[in-house]
Symmetry: D2
Subunit: 351 residues, 4 copies
């Protein structure tokens, strides 16, 4: 039995303020139902940029010192004495939303909207480190054949899968407004699940190019002014069956509802930074539309769905990975995100 | 066989402008699939007040001359040669939304949100007359034991039933925001269908009194400032399972979403007269809420549901009927509505 | 702090064979996430009679020695160090199906059909004793105002609630075939949740009398030969919207499907002791019927629903309690069940 | 304007007894809401073989003389004066189930299970002729780019689509038991709609070969004895998420339920010719399974779904068309069906 390391390298938000540090910190101690995972790859989320920049959201939520990072995969290093779901050597990822297990939502199959959820990498130490501690209930065992980079993307892929499969999708026409990584994944997932037509709407030309690569039938620039008209024309004047709102922007939301057909489904994932205005009468009520708030991933229905999609061999995540850089160069990733010329940045492990 | 009348008395919006007239007009001619109904009772909807006042909505939609009136019941006078569903002497009401039958919505069981719907009493001559012409497909046969006044209320009762039963209601806590006639009906329908707790929110004290009579467990005045807090306290801090939004007011909508629990259902029926602002992130997305636009009544699922509720003998519509006046005194009804001290006004037939 | 008892009285299936014994056994030791409950009342299920009689099912499933009993309520005596959901003195019942937490069903909100479920009182020591050990995750806290006898009935009441609410019930016509305790509860639950008409079908006259007391609109004896015809006539020839099959008998199942309308829902709870024959074409396929297998209670949606029904004050369980006898007289309860003149037998605690 | 033909060639079941005749019969007269279609291609259903053979079902249902044929496509020849949905020259197919429009099912969006349905080609003259008369409400306009042969297959393709899409299919494992034409179509539809794994079970080696061509992942011969074991092994011991039962055979049904996972969906389309025996407890109740009777195609949701699938360009119907022969050689088609070495036989028009 190998000697256990006592300390490890980690990205640390050490104090209330912008930036991060790389520090040597203790390897997390695990309890009887915990799993210690050696991180193989992690990926960067917009949340990490908020933490890095120390914006108002971060100031309100984050309690330094904190190791961020909530998208990752790795190899089980060791397990607590009561753990049976995985064993050392297993390839795993994890759902980083830790549900309380006791509220109404948790006791009725809705842990993904637990009233008292804590997020690993936000509310407790996360995966931008050599090791991360995960409760057994949150571990997800992966097929060893899945590429490491892909294994680090299951959190945002899960957002996309949850959104796409929150209602009927086969044979439906779909507008995906906002083509960040989640929107890009959603394009491909929708197509694999039988969507008839996928319209992607995105202001950033770099991302529009990726939308095409992910399989969108029609890619539109809302700034060009005719995006709504083109979607309406292409759907015989009726509009799309399904709106997947992933921009969180006032104008994107407005356009999305405009092209949603009477009786359609709108699944909202993008988070508007402030209140928006909406014409409830025209956009929702007279239309008899159904609007769904989408949060996280279903625990663990979405994970089973991702597993099936990845096993099918038809889902290609590579186009969304714009950069792969070492975890030690974390600050570079932050700069890349600011340029708008990055999609998903995968961080390889500390050496 | 009695001689057929050739003309009849009717309330007529004769010209573009406020007011109405009582005129002698031709009895409608019926085609092979039409039913001519002798109106026994009608009731007044807010739409009729818009038409009477000739407000911007009416100016845009109504083409005079028009006989308004879309809530009624009566006795079949005669039927077209191909009609089999009813015969002269039958007691009937009717769904006044005439669906096109050919659009996507109509061909998929969603006639209530037909893209090309025409409304009898709005787009063609309605029921504020001695006789009204109804297509056979829209006729609904009533049990002769149903009171005439109640038979004239099935359109708004149907709105309430459609809203309440648009999702699970049994054992659920419910907030009904806005207690006009539809909200008042919804209180009673929700209770009969097993709602656990019904909170009614209404600014008008006259209507709050009616909300109590219809069976609300808790009746709250939003102007008092503590309505939301009281609902949250009464639901253990979580909020209600179901929001039935029937006010169409910015403040009512805000309060409604504030008290909706994580994972809850919001069914929106009240029509805001203009755009509203909403905190999509807090009110819908993080909550994982489901929001439904509710339009009209399901054709004809809602009618079967109403029939069953009325047959049960447990649904009492009388408290909502604040006034009963002759159809000839239509202008008085308009005045009553303006006072705010009226709920549903039933119009008895021309003598 | 009071001295803790080390032994307690219990009903014990001591050996492979008919009968039971009353023995002094150790009070269960609890772990960090367990709750020890002092049993206040328990009730008898058909399963207990199988165990008592040592029939083939029991021979195959039960490993003596075993304390049976899976329907109960009581007062929390003490809790493990990690327990937060309840504290000593709380009034509680419990879901006795202990789900594995790790299978597909458990990880997708379907713990009630866990592939590896263990039942307390069947697979481990149960509630026919002074104390019973329950995992915190299975404890259900009760309002102290609920009568002790009612608190012991939540397992079968939950079966009824799960069955009734497995689909739409408000405004629907319902046939309940088989009026054992669960069928009797279902009558009342269906009515409280807005069922339009409840037809109860039962061969035993003692139970037919109870069906009437629980609120069935029409109570029918299938042996009289005209039960199906009467239900069809009362539903205008179409049949009922919902079939709740609680007899598990070939003839009951046949009659149930015969009276189910085209497009109806059949929820099957009664367990046939052997294969049955069925006309799939006429009973299910041409009808476009939906058939649901119902197992246990949803964990814990059904418990929230029960809580709401009990709080409403409209659900009366008393008619179903035919006898109340001391736990020490357990063998008498077995005799009563054999007579067919008992419904639910509540066992009061050891003195 | 061309002169209208007064007579036409048709396949006619002229008298009560086996066989058919080719006769010159009057071209159907159309009413104001009818469409007369010049048949371009038709295809043969098992029902046509029943009629040809004059088996007990046919003796009970068919009233000679009758022109059979209910799977076809063609060109609109002329339309009644009130028809607006199509015009002469349009390429069309039709839903041949003519719903009454007035029963509970028809008035609640369930026309596909109308209690009083009449089938064109069974209850009135059908499409094995130069012309067929179709009510406007039943006409379905086709994209002119769809091959004639495919246009004749929408009735059975619709059965498949209705069955596959009667519940969730994306990311699910599916067993399709029985690979006649509908089962074969279902394989491909399930894959296009994101099914994770498709197991096809079929006794006939000719059809097993076609199942492979349609895209089944695993094709199994139930006679080999290990079909169930192989499906269970391939699904980790749990069984499939979805069973599509298309054999109507006792042994197929038994095998299907055996491999259905706990909590799974079973959609039954195959019609057993007599009662079957089933272990309700193990197969449905303990499993908490949902069983759906599938009849016809949803009117017209299924047709919109087919349209989308055909437009996608990914659905290939050709492998299922085993033979193409002239309508005049109808008797040859009957012989081919008896050999078991035919799948779908397309009949080209009379010359």
């Amino acid at each position: 039995m190998p000697e256990q390391k006592e300390t490890m390298q980690a990205i640390v938000k050490a104090a209330a303020g912008p930036g991060i540090e790389i520090r040597e910190v203790p390897v997390p101690a695990i309890g009887p139902t915990d799993v210690l995972v050696r991180v193989e790859a992690a990926s960067v989320c917009g949340t990490d940029l908020h933490i890095y920049n120390w914006d108002p959201w971060a100031q309100n939520r984050i309690k330094p010192p904190l190791v961020p990072g909530h998208e990752f995969c790795g190899i089980v290093e060791r397990v607590g004495e009561d753990v049976t779901a995985v064993k050392p050597g297993d390839f795993v990822s994890a759902e980083m939303h830790v549900a309380c297990g006791k509220c109404l939502q948790c006791r009725t199959g809705e842990q993904h909207i637990c009233q008292y959820v804590k997020i690993i990498g936000v509310d407790s130490d996360g995966a931008f480190a050599e090791f991360v501690k995960i409760p057994e209930a949150n571990i997800w065992k992966l097929d060893p054949g899945i590429p490491r980079a892909w294994g680090s993307l299951l959190d945002p892929l899960g957002n996309a899968v949850h959104t796409v499969l929150a209602g009927e999708i086969a044979t439906k026409s779909v507008a995906i407004v906002g083509c960040g990584p989640i929107g890009l994944f959603a394009i491909s997932v929708a197509r694999l699940c039988g969507a008839a037509q996928v319209f992607a709407v995105e202001v950033n030309p770099y991302r529009r190019e990726l939308a095409t690569r992910m399989g969108a039938d029609v890619v539109l620039d809302p700034a060009a002014g005719d995006a709504a008209a083109r979607i309406l024309t292409a759907t015989g004047g009726s509009g799309v069956d399904v709106l997947l709102e992933m921009s969180g922007h006032q104008q994107g939301i407005r356009l999305g509802f405009l092209v949603l057909r009477t009786g359609g489904r709108a699944s909202l994932l993008g988070i508007p930074p402030r209140e928006i205005t909406i014409n409830l009468a025209e956009d929702i009520i007279f239309k008899g539309a159904t609007v769904q708030g989408i949060n996280g991933r279903k625990m663990f229905e979405t994970w089973f769905q991702m597993e099936a999609l990845l096993k099918s061999g038809k889902l290609d995540l590579d186009p969304v990975i714009s950069h792969t850089i070492p975890l030690a160069n974390f600050a570079d990733a932050m700069e890349l995100l600011r340029t708008g010329e990055a999609a998903k940045i995968v961080l390889t492990k500390f050496e």
